[in-house]
Point group: C2
Chain length 205, copies 2
């Protein structure tokens, strides 16, 4: 887990250097705090303690930095969640792990999550958008498969799979809109409670 | 219902004229199609078939138009949903009506919903933000009260009310991110299915 916590989503890991890592990390923090428009290349250089010309040596512009964070975050989310699905466990236990791992990722990489969400819907660059979509589709494919398997195993009644997927993802994807880091429940606990509510339902039996 | 369908969310109804109504309606359509940044005062004037100077006679700038749409949409959502809660029905039936009415509102006023969602989180004007928050709080208060009443009536098991509210609202609030108007299920049917899944749960009994 320590390894995962120390990893920062990157475009191509082979290209990365400590400096690039630092720039992406500080930028993500600034984007999350002040928004894309509220963060300048000057702010990023200042936060990194480097000159603007050194910053421009690594990145052509702010958009390139943002895109690297956002693309990396979507791909990392897939890997992070995929690695945490308990092998051989019943589908419902794996659905629960999918949800809590997503909460865990959100908790660890809140800034990258915010950058990714913002650019996911607004990235004007078609190629990057396509690559991000591919990773998002793989991530969504995980939960779609798990819900289908749970129905087949008789753990879940035969509901509309696509809509059940949307319900699970909506609960997780809306979290960044309202959750404050100082809330009493952390995102892992919230995701776990959501699983419990969605799986067992609210109805008094 | 015809009356509601013909109503357009407005800032102050007493100020409104056919012209203002037309400007707000066309602007909302353009904002929804091209985004706030992708829509100019020139585009709005063209869409309305009026001169830019006549447009500026009614509104100081694009931001004022956007804010009027967004504020109006939040307030109208509250009234629209509130009017559709069946009086005297059991709390669970009223929760279902809350959800399907929200789907209905989204279906009718998609453009206003999008404008409202976009500006809800980014409006730099504190006073407008505060007023919108007040209407949003009243809307959220409806579902909070209904879930509490359903628990008291023994229809819902004693879950965490705040989190159950978040689950219901997440399912509805995320819809604009993925639902296309040409989808086979319309937003009312989707909201109804969400109610069924959340209330009864996915678990096979």
């Amino acid at each position: 887990m320590a390894r995962a916590a120390a990893r920062i989503p990157l475009g191509k890991e082979t290209e990365s250097s400590d400096r690039v890592l630092q720039i992406l990390s500080e930028s993500a923090r600034l984007f999350a705090a002040s928004g894309y428009d509220g963060t300048s290349m000057r702010d990023i250089a200042l936060a990194c303690g480097i000159s603007k010309s050194l910053l421009y040596h690594h990145f052509a512009d702010k958009d390139e930095i943002f895109a690297r964070i956002a693309l990396g975050a979507t791909r990392e989310l897939y890997h992070f969640v995929h690695e945490r699905l308990p092998e051989g466990a019943p589908p419902s236990a794996r659905i629960r792990a999918f949800m809590t791992a997503t909460g865990d990722y959100f908790q660890r990489y809140r800034w990258a999550w915010l950058a990714s969400t913002a650019s996911f819907w607004n990235d004007p660059e078609a190629r990057r958008q396509k690559e991000r979509m591919m990773w998002r589709d793989r991530y969504e494919g995980l939960i779609r498969t798990l819900i289908s398997e749970a129905i087949e195993a008789g753990e879940i009644r035969p509901v509309d799979v696509a809509l059940a997927v949307r319900l699970v993802l909506s609960s997780l994807n809306w979290m960044h809109r309202w959750h404050k880091p100082d809330k009493s429940m952390n995102p892992v606990q919230i995701a776990d409670s959501y699983f419990e509510m969605i799986f067992n339902g609210l109805k008094q039996n």
